[in-house]
Symmetry: C2
Subunit: 305 residues, 2 copies
């Protein structure tokens, strides 16, 4: 995005901290402010104070922890719907901040925000059809088709697919809903629950990594079958910093697909499944994309009459 | 669609027959011509002769058997890519017919066509975000988000997800790629291979139906997790005419989801998972939607300059 791109305000509302940037893109960040995420009134007032200090932005984007309501026709659009975080369940975020900022405002999950940013400027730059999977305390997936998020109604919860178990593995998993779904087998808490050792400390030759990789390989198999991604970016605490996991996950995906998919990109697993490129800036930059898309949509409404 | 809607020519190119309609919608079909699908030259010349007889249509839509190339940026866009059907592998369909008809032309798979038609006029009328799954000689899925097909690159191959096996069932399945993937467990040929009895003749109390329903329930679980569908329409030879299968599939989906998904529509499985409403007209009517969308896209290009 050149300097002629418009200025956008982007907010990544995370569970513990909130990053606000005023930017045109990754090479043109005019200001960056970080706030702790505390109770809603204090946090949202803090964001509003930051927005009040800034001028010249034509759109606002918010990439939020979830679950959130992203159906623009729903009365609770832009709200956090349910969360154990004190005070935030049912909290309106996007409608309040839009009224305050008085500019077109985009709102989505933090995962979809990161997916949009990686597709625009990061590890999948130049590709309009990608998936971003984050494997950390949970597993989240953002699917982007034609540069837009897929799944207009709720947070895509792909992490809860059920993988076929590796023969001989009968650990029950730790998802409270599904037991041994992908998140219940391969997210950070599952690794710790199974082995007693946190992922970052688990030796690379521990057998559990093969089981984690197998579950994640099946997640990628399912993502490929949606027909959307030309590349899959994998981030989150379990993937980033665990270099040996990428080759294992790629091999598990290839094994699971068994040559079925003709898409040429999938055959070269090393370039098809890649780590993120934007690091800690993916979240707020995703908010910038959401803000820019909201401006674009508003322009479309105006000029179509 | 009212009588003021434009006339569109729609072609369903099937593996054995080809249905051409000139229509504005299901209540306004001006002409309907059926041709056998033989060798490409004969079949395409036959379609062109039908188009030559018609006048007044502003767009053309084609819903084709596959696999097909649907990436508009690919050199082989609009071609059948690979098929055992004599003469059709690598055959250009959409580019040739567009040149002949000289109107904006849409092209997609027959499954996506049926999905679009059911979303526009059929069992999911009024819903922009749906899935259509056909369970017959194979399993195909069309995902529609915002009224548009999801998966811009290739045919969505959701039928090849791998379900977790029912305890005690170790039949190897009959998918040549994956063995016991969903298609290898629940499509028509799988039912016959497992039981020795074709689906339509298999008694409703046969144990195999529970295994089929379980695999299909997991297919629906995975579809729900994409975050797209507000309703799932299930058609195809295995579903249609096997009334007892719908309640079983709904129960299997609900069991597999285990209360995880908050989307209200999913909770009422009887209205969330439904049979198709358009019958044999879904294919050609889907082609009408594809043609109308091609006209709309062309208008957008023209008026945006």
């Amino acid at each position: 995005m050149s300097d002629e791109a418009p200025l956008i305000a982007g907010i990544e509302l995370g569970g513990t901290k909130c990053i606000c940037i005023l930017a045109r893109g990754p090479d043109s960040i005019e200001d960056r402010v970080q706030l702790p995420t505390t109770r809603p009134e204090e946090t949202l007032a803090g964001i509003e104070a930051v927005l009040d200090r800034w001028s010249g932005f034509v759109g606002l984007g918010i990439a939020s922890f979830g679950p959130v309501s992203i159906d623009p026709h729903a009365a609770d659009y832009g709200h956090i719907t349910s969360t154990p975080k004190p005070g935030w369940a049912g909290q309106d975020v996007a409608q309040r901040l839009r009224r305050h900022a008085r500019v077109p405002t985009g709102f989505h999950t933090d995962v979809v925000g990161a997916a949009l940013a990686e597709a625009r400027w990061g590890a999948a730059a130049g590709l309009a059809d990608i998936a971003y999977a984050t494997v950390g305390t949970g597993i989240g997936v953002g699917l982007i088709a034609g540069g837009r998020p897929v799944g207009g109604l709720t947070h895509s919860e792909f992490g809860h697919i059920r993988p076929v178990r590796v023969a001989g593995d009968d650990w029950i998993g730790n998802c409270p809903y599904h037991g041994a779904c992908c998140e219940g087998l391969a997210a950070g808490p599952a690794i710790k629950a199974r082995t007693g050792i946190p992922g970052p400390d688990l030796p690379a030759d521990h057998r559990a990594w093969d089981l984690v990789a197998d579950a994640l390989g099946q997640l990628l198999h399912t993502l490929v079958l949606t027909g959307v991604p030309r590349r899959i970016v994998m981030g989150g605490g379990v993937m980033v910093g665990t270099d040996h996991l990428f080759p294992r996950v790629r091999a598990a995906m290839t094994r699971s697909l068994a040559g079925y998919v003709a898409l040429a990109e999938v055959a070269d697993a090393d370039t098809f499944v890649v780590p993120p490129a934007l690091g800690g800036n993916a979240g707020p930059l995703g908010a910038i994309v959401l803000g820019a898309q909201a401006v674009q949509a508003e322009m479309g409404r105006v000029f179509r009459g």
